[in-house]
Amino acid sequence: MLEIDDLLFRYPGQPAETTGWRFKVSIQEGECVALTGPSGCGKSTLLNLVAGFLTPAGGDIRWQGQSLGPLPPWERPVTTVFQEQNLFDHLTVAENIGLGLHPGLGLSKTQWSQIKAALEGVNLGGFGNRKAENLSGGQRQRVAVVRALLRPQPILLLDEPMTGLDDENRAILQGQLQQARHQGKTLVLVSHDSRDRQALADREVTDFYHAW
């Protein structure tokens, strides 16, 4: 279970009287939960807290009963897919995915062919040697999700991953994410589009944030 337990946060550099957030939500393993609420309610902030990009002022995040608080981003069991800029533009598609498997690209032959096969699975066969900067927005998001699925980390944090994409890309991405669920990954989805939420989420949570 992923437990967000009275996690307190306020953006630094703001006066003390500004209201911050208190987050509280529990997510079962293998579940896909959509966080919904008006813009500015703290959806992305919560995902960034879980990933360790932001430091909470109090409270705890636990995965399978163990606190993630002291862990740096690279030791947390999560992979984030942002709305954009998930890829390193100057590297090839295959390298972008490979970096998710080993941060220095020390990959085995098997792993490289695994990447190749995964790309074929999302209609990007033969794109491996292309520079990421030459891809369309939808293609880039597909590559980002391929990378997320190949990583062993059990939690996917999806921060508007399909925003701004056309229907075809959206369908492919939804298929990929369904596949992630079959692999047993736990998904936390932030999307303002109700179609995505309906297609993917087991349940929607609206009361995860409180004023602090």
Binding site: N48, A51, G52, F53, W63, Q64, Q66, L68, L71, P72, P73, W74, E75, R76, P77, V78, T79, T80, F82, E84, Q85, N86, F88, H90, L91, E95, L99, G100, P103, G104, L105, G125, G126, F127, N129, R130, K131, N134, S136, Q139, P152, Q153
Partner: protein, 557 residues
């Protein structure tokens, strides 16, 4: 089991990014501090000489006077030239002219002086033309005229380049709105140009002022005599010829106070903006200005043409007079030029590499540090050489190590070191942007994927920094190749570097040999830049070779 355990990437500990930069910035501060301390301790008789000696007062007054005139001249030329260039984005040869304007960043001052002498001097092109027309030159290049001419030759293009860049950064929509309203030249100046230039001008004026205030090679070649001596030259004369350390220290302190005070004023008001041109250029040519039509079209072209001539003539003179001399002498193995070339390279190559290394470590350290005193120190130490002129630093170190100067090669090492520090503001300017180019989300992705330490450098930073690093290295090496101030202090006339040799030849009126040496120095500098721009082209070749995909994005069957 929450964490996926994997060995940490090599060199990923924070200290690997922090320590080298902190060590270097500490060393820089120590070096500057001990140099200044040595100076201050040396002024034993106190500053009384300052208001007792009419000579010193004359020197200080002349230094400030010529610098002020140079600033006015440079800016007054730069503003109309910059506006003319912005008005005419489609002007043929415009980008070549912009390149030519950047040349002043890398052209050694002493080379420019020899070019100016070859055009405006007593035996120069203009004198020939005047004689042919039956007259004689109405000016004498030696003295304030030549100093001003050389300072404007260097600083007007620099200022104009920065202004063009600033004007091109005016938001496109504002420019389009102005275009639609059909604003005339005066209104455009009031509405668009002046508001854009105003924040840049104080920093630009301060930069030009301090460059001219501390100018050495130009003044020592074209000036001289009690009527046209600047502080830098007076320091040099006091140290090298009169062995009057007290006077040198006193003058160095005055110079430091004035330059430091000036920069403090500029930085304090936080009115500084980029005062060095960067590599960006605007592609917007879509909004023609109402003041670019009619008779202005002609005056603009005349202005740009004259400015181009002003910049190009000295370079042409060096090339046309220097190449024949070089061709005649190339086979001469006992030419002083070869030894000087080796000495110059021996100083400049290490200086360039050291400057780039220090720059990268300083940037890495400032990237890791949170805002605070250590971070400010690390980022300021790279810009200190702009405030503490090299000759002041050199003077301090000269006084510190003067007893040991007899040791062979020791002086050259110090010169190389000071040269690398002098290059820091420039290499920092080139590398800072690319080093910090990654956005927050990219950094977050990299963190999450554990691409840290060596891996981050190898896969994320180095590919983007290759080209700028080569460019910075080029700047570092060429600045040191062209240095005449520090080497004049530490070098020996019997074993000259290229700029020293050039100065000796200019001083003994060997004009042909001087233009030959100047030409040779320019050839070497050009070769360095061409050589260093090569690795940057390699990555462009790779995508075509192995994509296996057509341009439409359809995979091959």
């Amino acid at each position: 089991m929450p964490a996926i355990i994997r060995p940490a990437p090599p060199f990923s500990h924070r200290n690997w990014q922090l320590a080298p930069g902190l060590v270097f910035s500490g060393l820089i501060l120590l070096l500057m501090g001990s140099g200044l301390l040595a100076l201050i301790l040396r002024t034993e008789s106190g500053p009384a000489e300052l208001w007792q000696s009419p000579y010193l007062q004359g020197v200080i007054r002349f230094t400030a006077w010529q610098a002020t005139l140079s600033v006015l001249g440079s800016l007054l030329i730069a503003v109309p030239v910059a506006r003319a260039l912005v008005r005419n984005p489609g002007f043929p040869g415009r980008s070549a002219l912009l390149r030519l304007m950047e040349l002043s960043l890398v052209m050694p001052t002493i080379v420019a002086v020899s070019g100016l002498v070859a055009v405006y001097g007593r035996n120069g092109w203009l004198a020939d033309a005047a004689e042919w027309a039956g007259g004689s030159l109405p000016w004498n290049l030696y003295g304030i005229t030549g100093i001003l001419l050389a300072h404007i030759f260097f600083n007007a293009p620099l200022a104009a380049r920065v202004m063009v860049q600033t004007l091109e950064r005016i938001p496109v929509n504002q420019r389009r709105a102005a275009s639609q309203l059909g604003l005339g030249s005066w209104q455009l100046w009031r509405v668009l140009d002046w508001p854009a230039l105003r924040p840049v001008l104080p920093g630009l004026a301060a930069l030009v002022f301090s460059l001219c205030f501390t100018s050495f090679a130009i003044v020592v070649t074209l000036g001289g005599g009690p009527g046209a001596t600047t502080i830098e030259v007076a320091i040099y004369q006091a140290l090298r010829f009169e062995f009057d350390f007290n006077r040198a220290a006193l003058l160095a302190c005055v110079q430091l106070l004035i330059c430091g005070g000036l920069w403090w004023l500029v930085f304090r008001g936080n009115r500084h903006q980029t005062v060095l041109p960067d590599q960006s250029s605007s592609a917007d040519t879509a909004s023609p200005r109402a003041d670019s039509a009619g008779w202005r079209r002609i005056t603009d072209r005349v202005l740009i043409g004259l400015f181009t001539l002003f910049l190009a003539l000295p370079v042409l003179a060096i090339a046309l007079r220097g190449i024949p001399w070089l061709a005649g002498e190339l086979a001469n193995p006992r030419l002083a030029l070869w030894g000087a070339t080796l000495r110059s390279l021996a100083i400049a190559l290490p200086a360039g590499f050291l400057a780039v290394a220090i720059t990268l470590t300083l940037l890495a350290a400032t990237n890791v540090l949170k805002p605070g005193l250590p971070r400010s120190l690390a980022s300021v130490s790279g810009y200190l050489p702009l405030i503490v002129p090299p000759i002041v630093l050199g003077t301090g170190l000269f006084l510190l190590i003067q007893p040991r100067l007899g040791i062979q090669g020791y002086g050259l090492l110090v010169v190389s070191l000071i040269n690398s520090l002098m290059a820091l503001p420039f290499t920092l300017q080139v590398l800072r942007g690319p080093f910090q180019a990654s956005g927050t989300s990219t950094l977050r992705v990299a963190d999450q994927l554990d691409i840290r330490g060596w891996y981050r450098w190898r896969w994320l930073q180095w590919p983007r920094l290759k080209r700028p690093t080569a460019l910075a290295l080029g700047y570092g090496i060429t600045l040191s190749m062209g240095d005449f101030g520090v080497i004049a202090l530490f070098g020996s006339p019997a074993q000259p570097t290229l700029p020293m040799l050039l100065h000796q030849q200019l001083g003994s009126y060997q004009v042909a040999a001087a233009t030959g040496t100047a030409c040779w120095l320019l050839v070497i500098i050009a070769a360095i830049f061409i050589l260093l721009s090569r690795p940057g082209r390699l990555p462009h070749r790779t995508p075509a070779t192995h994509t296996g995909v057509t341009q439409t994005g359809v995979p091959h069957a």
